[in-house]
């Protein structure tokens, strides 16, 4: 099963490599990874999506907690949560495809953020499966480049991951 694990860790050099190293060392899988500082500049928030059975995911959270730089770990998939990913996709947009892409983009509530006579760059925000669906809906449109941010997520309601 797919899990979204959020990690609050010290914003220090080497901290990220400890997390990434742990995953490769213990043969855990990383689907996506995002990391950035939080409102507190001494802390970074890292979100990793991984696939594994309950036992593997339990080990992942335990092993992450053991890292000295890691302050807190939560498996967001255990409760109600919201996930988002940003995608920027550059497409060939000429002839009749130009209008077709615009229509698909509107349906998915994407934004065209860069335009040239022959290309569109579309920005789309949503859960990962929505981004996947957009790519399949493009059908015969010619994709030049896809950039995805990786997943970040937050628990619904009052629950927070903080010190």
């Amino acid at each position: 099963m797919r899990h979204i694990i959020s990690v609050l860790m010290e914003n220090e050099p080497g901290a990220l490599s400890r997390v990434v190293g742990l995953f490769s060392q213990r043969n855990y899988n990383i689907e996506s990874l995002t990391v950035a500082p939080t409102d507190d500049a001494t802390l970074s928030r890292l979100t990793v999506t991984t696939i594994g059975n309950d036992r593997v995911v339990e080990q992942i959270t335990k092993q992450l907690n053991k890292l000295v730089d890691v302050v807190k770990v939560v498996d967001l998939s255990e409760g109600e949560h919201i996930e988002r990913e940003v995608m920027m996709i550059k497409l060939k947009a000429s002839g009749q495809m130009r209008a077709e892409i615009k229509r698909t983009c509107d349906i998915f509530r994407g934004q065209i953020i860069d335009v040239t006579p022959t290309t569109y760059t579309v920005q789309l925000v949503g859960a990962s499966d929505k981004l996947d669906a957009f790519i399949s809906a493009l059908g015969s449109a010619s994709i030049m480049e896809v950039v995805r941010s990786g997943v970040c997520g937050v628990a619904r309601g009052e629950k927070v991951l903080s010190l």
Binding site: E10, P13, G14, G21, Q59, Q63, N65, V68, L163
Partner: protein
């Protein structure tokens, strides 16, 4: 600042080898007397000496090695300590900060190289951080589940002409690191109820009991309950080896009675043990009828390979103390009748194959006899270090350890070459005790250069070499699994060990007959101020038994070359 911080931490000995990036530190060492430096002949030995000091005392050992090859030579020793959760602080020199990343002379990325085999590592980026980093390093190494910590120290952080304010912190507080100090009382209560209702219980304990200084508590609880106790390779000495309730080591080369008892148990109390593959055999067949209570300070060790029914995260000593109080205060008593029947069964297993071996199929001495003699001659009181292989298993099986912290071996990583430097590290700190390294002619040659260090620092350790002229454990597996094709497991160019040790100024003995063994051994141990190397010729065809059958259950064992359960 580095040397001063070590002094303020109370460090007496550090083990190391100088080099370019550490010259400032070595100059500071030269100008003081509080911290004594021991010069080894290879950096791996420095880490093993520091490691063995930690195993014998529970306090972190310290090694100091230079950048590049000095640091990479230390990696095996760091990994050895990591796998066995041994507290250690290793300071590695590094090139000047401005050269890092430029492939400078003797530069390696030690933070990167060491990361998978350390509990934590630090890079010093500002000289004024040195005291707090050293303090944190010791705190992290020694608390919680212990482990090695590396401090990477660029040369310009130690420039002697620059001055910085120095204050050694009294304590450490880290928001991201708070080791657990007690177990969950509700879980402990539930576990104790299970213990009092058990009919076929086994207490299975590991290195956590030794590292957690919990052997008194373990002994008291086991006696209160009258339960059988088995130890892992790392846990030997946690419970007295000569006690009636001790049923031997368990696992791949565990005793028949320990493995049988585990398989048939209805309750297993695991304390500071991690259900290692060398213990459990196939996990899907492991202890099919047992409920499992697992006490460990590291939550990641619980339910990692075998699912625990009652997990208790906490220090062994504190949790066992709480259990003792609960058992004493409980109206319910252990089920005496069921335990009587259980002990009858265990004693019957013990009778059937209680560590027996043949002595009539060879003219040569049996390695088991040699270890039994060592146990007799030293009254089970010596510090015994070992290398890795058959001799290690024979020592674990036949030496009766009555005290904790006396059996010092590389259990998890299985590092050949560990034994001699380990013995040296212990001897240096326990000069009045007998310290013996049980080794083989293969392992001893992996760090034999340290005989020179022994001369320099007068370290009169005893070396007991079970010489079977082959890499015995490799050969055993080749006999059992590869139709005796002895690929590269034979050494036909062994040195004359007697002459070799004599050239370093030590005493050598060659012992070929069992009749001479006791006399020679007593003579060797009587030479209190000399290093004595006992080169004992043993039967090269002997195998270590019992040996679990691969992918079987705990009870599936070879008991000799011809008998199987």
């Amino acid at each position: 600042m580095v040397v001063r911080a070590l002094r303020d931490e109370g460090v007496k000995y550090i083990y190391g080898y100088p080099g370019g990036s550490l010259l400032h530190v070595y100059d500071a060492l030269f100008q003081q007397e509080d911290v004594q430096h021991v010069l080894v002949r290879h950096e791996q030995a420095a880490t093993h000496m520091a490691d063995a000091y930690a195993r014998a005392t529970g306090k972190a050992g310290v090694a100091l090695v230079t950048s590049g090859p000095g640091a990479t030579n230390a990696v095996t020793g760091i990994a050895t300590a990591f796998t066995d959760s041994i507290p250690m602080v290793v300071i590695t020199g590094q090139v000047m900060s401005h050269l890092i990343g430029e492939d400078a002379f003797q530069e390696t990325d030690m933070l990167g190289i060491s990361r998978p085999v350390v509990k934590h590592n630090f890079s010093v980026q500002r000289p004024e951080d040195i005291p707090s980093i050293v303090k944190k390093a010791f705190h992290i190494a020694e608390s919680g589940r212990p482990g090695p910590v590396v401090i990477d120290l660029p040369k310009d952080m130690t420039t002697p002409t620059e001055r910085y304010p120095y204050e050694y912190p009294k304590q450490v507080k880290m928001r991201s690191y708070t080791p657990i100090t007690r177990g969950h009382s509700g879980q402990i209560k539930k576990a104790t109820d299970l213990l009092l209702n058990a009919k076929r219980p086994v207490i299975y304990t590991g290195g956590g009991v030794i590292l957690g200084h919990a052997s008194d508590q373990l002994t008291e609880l086991s006696r209160l309950l009258n339960f059988p106790v088995t130890n892992t390779l790392m846990g030997l000495g946690g419970f007295p080896g000569t006690d009636r309730q001790f049923i031997g080591m368990l696992g791949m080369h565990g005793s028949y009675e320990a493995n049988m008892a585990m398989h048939h148990a209805d309750l297993i109390l695991a304390v500071g043990a991690r259900f290692d593959d060398r213990v459990t055999n196939a996990t899907d067949k492991f202890c099919p009828t047992a409920k499992i209570v697992h006490i460990d300070i590291d939550p990641a060790s619980i339910s990692k390979t075998v699912q625990a029914d009652i997990p208790i995260v906490g220090p062994a000593k504190v949790v066992l103390d709480e259990m003792i109080q609960l058992v004493k205060g409980s109206k319910k008593q252990p089920d005496a009748e069921a335990l009587k029947a259980w002990w009858q069964q265990i004693d019957e297993w013990r009778q059937r194959h209680g560590g027996r071996y043949r002595t009539d199929d060879s003219e040569l001495m049996k390695p088991q006899q040699v270890i039994e003699m060592l146990s007799k001659v030293t009254n089970g009181d010596a510090f015994v270090t070992s290398d890795v292989g058959q001799h290690q298993m024979f020592a674990a099986q036949y030496y009766k350890f009555n005290k904790p912290n006396r059996w010092i071996n590389s259990g998890g990583l299985g590092t050949m070459g560990f034994g001699l430097p380990a013995a040296m590290g212990v001897k240096m700190n326990f000069p009045d005790d007998d310290v013996v390294c049980v080794t083989g002619e293969g392992s001893i040659q992996m760090n034999i250069q340290e005989l020179s260090t022994c001369s320099q620092y007068d370290l009169p350790v005893k070396i007991l070499c079970l010489n079977n002229q082959s890499l015995g454990m490799v050969r055993q597996w080749q006999d059992m699994n590869y139709e005796s094709r002895h690929s590269q497991s034979y050494m036909n160019s062994l040195p004359d060990f007697v002459k070799l040790v004599e050239s370093y100024g030590h005493v050598g003995m060659k012992i070929e007959k069992y009749a001479d063994l006791e006399g020679a051994m007593r003579e060797a141990f009587a030479m209190k101020d000399r290093l004595v190397f006992m080169d004992v010729a043993v039967d090269p065809f002997e195998h270590v038994y019992p040996m679990q059958v691969p992918r079987g259950a705990m009870r599936d064992m070879w008991l000799s070359k011809t008998e199987r359960t």
